[in-house]
């Protein structure tokens, strides 16, 4: 890079180095936009979370909103719903994605490009669109899925009307939408695992499972870390699917933290409480992401 300037008095720049201001000029739009639409809103939300509307005015109430959260049964409901969907959906989806990536990478599978496209294409569908689509597919009386279940002799399932099955419906919709995305990330990483490793292991008599366990999985560690952290962050912010599929119901069974924030902010116009929920969510995301990074990093050593 540029050599340290040994003649500070000489202002003329060395031919072949950029003016000092150049990187700042390239960054100027980002800095302005960040300050206006990110930094200011985050700081303002932090202040809002310490206030409450009283007689039409935003009044400082200290940690009152956070105290209220601690004793709010609906918040705990939203928190436990979100965590439940998280611990079931993320491992299920990433497990499936891993198997798919291995299959896509295997010479055993024919016409790989076609199947890869089929699994990947749901990602283009917007959340509202697939929410609408799944709400018709999962319709209790007339949905195609219940019809299919019935025609093979299984009972109908109250997909969206029952607290238990409503969660399952959301998990199915999420898995349909995002599995291909994770599989593509795994596949790319798999293709960077040298083939000689597998050949050597095969010559040494390692079984297919041993090869998967000792070569494939360690090779995928960076991609697994990344997808676990990203999927966790995404699921903790879950909003669109329950909003469109179940509207948080029945009886708040699919109410998520994101939905509860939205309801408080834009249905009850309790901006202070909504902001407090947002900051608690931020805290949970930060803690979980840190724990996951630690756990997945340590195993590498």
């Amino acid at each position: 890079m540029t050599a340290p300037n040994t003649q500070p008095a000489v202002r003329r720049r060395w031919r072949g180095s950029a003016p000092r201001a150049t990187p700042y000029l390239f960054l100027l739009p980002v800095i302005v936009l960040f300050l206006a639409f990110k930094v200011y809103p985050y700081v303002y939300a932090a202040w809002l979370s310490l206030t409450k509307i009283q007689k039409g005015k935003q009044v400082f109430v200290g940690l009152g909103n956070y105290g209220r959260l601690l004793t709010d049964p609906i918040f705990y409901k939203a928190l436990s719903n979100t965590l439940l969907i998280l611990v079931i959906q993320v491992p299920l989806m990433l497990g499936l994605a891993l198997l798919l990536a291995v299959a896509f990478n295997s010479a055993l599978l024919k016409w790989r490009a076609i199947w890869r496209t089929a699994y990947f294409v749901p990602i283009v569908m917007g959340l509202v669109a697939y929410g609408i689509l799944f709400s018709t597919l999962l319709n209790n009386h007339y949905g195609v899925i219940n019809f299919a279940l019935e025609s093979i002799g299984l009972p109908r399932v109250p997909w969206l009307g029952d607290p238990f099955w409503a969660k399952i419906s959301i998990i199915i919709a999420l898995t349909w939408h995002y599995t291909g995305n994770s599989a593509v990330i795994y596949l790319a990483q798999l293709q960077s695992v040298p083939g000689e490793l597998y050949e050597a292991a095969e010559i040494d008599g390692a079984s297919a499972f041993q090869r998967f366990w000792h070569i494939t999985l360690p090779g995928l560690r960076p991609a697994i870390t990344l997808t676990v952290v990203l999927s966790t962050i995404g699921t903790l912010q879950l909003f669109d699917e329950p909003y469109v599929l179940t509207n948080g119901g029945p009886n708040n069974a699919t109410l998520t933290i994101g939905m509860y924030l939205y309801q408080n902010g834009f249905k009850y116009f309790d901006f202070g409480y909504a902001s407090a929920i947002g900051y608690v969510l931020t805290g949970i995301i930060g803690i979980l992401a840190l724990i996951q990074f630690r756990l997945l990093r340590e195993k590498r050593a």
Binding site: A18, T22, Y24, L109, F120, V121, G126, Y142, V244, G278
Partner: protein, 279 residues
């Protein structure tokens, strides 16, 4: 590639292929249902046994959608907003990525740290303040309210920085020695080498804006300002939802991005991977 075709290998190959194919049928089935359902009347969509053959009501559904429901506004809004967002977001993120990848300057660590922190923070925290900003600026129901807040997208900046790292320094240095201005270097030398990454970023931004829902739902208060997802959700919220019309609208919302995806799949995948694997 193994060349032995033992009976066992053939059997394994058939088993793997069968499972993968069955799975892909499940993945594609909702698309088939979408096409079929959008060609029926509302009452024929919900029938037992279900109609799994295409019907003849597609044009009638589309007619109602674009006529009474005024869906044309939403398609126009979404198209313009997504194109403008992809264009300006692409420029802003690429310029920032270039600064981070190819310069050393005071405050660089702090600024890049800020990008990463904003990438990880849940954007829902900003919903209320952004709403209030838009009210203050009198920007509710405007394109700028949709476009500006996420124009500097942390993921996009990160993606472009990663890609820029592979542009050789010598190329830029040589141009400087030849006396080229900094902006000329950026536009005429760096950008042309970045075409695949730019395509990936552009598609990503277009798709993100086209499908965005929560934030537009908040800042768009009148139906003529709605984008496609908000218009769809409002159609679904009606007490007597016309599902034929609603699913035709859903089809309209999916087709452009599906086409974009099928034609540019390579770039699409590249965009996801560049952000994901090269950490």
């Amino acid at each position: 590639m193994r060349t032995d075709r033992s009976p066992q290998a053939k059997l394994a190959s058939m088993a793997v292929t069968t499972v993968v194919v069955l799975g892909s049928v499940l993945m594609l089935a909702p698309f088939y249902w979408l096409i079929v359902a959008s060609t029926h009347r509302s009452r024929d969509i919900f029938s037992n046994p279900p109609n799994l053959q295409p019907g003849d009501q597609l044009w009638a559904n589309l007619g109602k959608l674009f006529g009474e429901a005024g869906f044309g506004h939403a398609v126009l809004n979404s198209t313009l907003v997504a194109l403008l967002y992809a264009l300006f977001g692409g420029i802003v993120c690429t310029a920032a990525g270039y600064a981070f990848a190819k310069f050393r300057f005071a405050g660089q660590g702090v600024l890049f740290g800020m990008v990463l922190v904003i990438l990880a923070l849940p954007s829902q925290v900003t919903l209320v303040p952004l709403f209030q900003i838009m009210v203050q600026l009198n920007w509710l129901n405007t394109y700028q309210a949709l476009i500006l807040p996420n124009l500097a997208l942390p993921f996009g900046i990160f993606l472009m920085r990663q890609t820029m790292l592979s542009v050789p320094d010598e190329l830029i240095q040589a141009a400087r020695v030849d006396g080229a201005g900094e902006f000329r270097i950026f536009f005429q030398i760096v950008l042309p080498t970045m075409r695949p990454a730019l395509a990936a970023l552009g598609i990503f931004l277009f798709l993100a804006q086209w499908n965005d829902f929560v934030y537009p739902l908040i800042v768009l208060r009148t139906s003529d300002a709605y984008t496609v997802p908000v218009a769809l959700a409002s159609l679904q919220g009606l007490s007597d939802t016309d599902y034929g019309q609603l699913l035709a609208g859903t089809l309209v919302s999916v087709l452009p991005v599906l086409g974009l995806f099928l034609f540019l799949q390579r770039h699409f995948v590249a965009g996801i991977l560049a952000g994901a694997v090269k950490q």
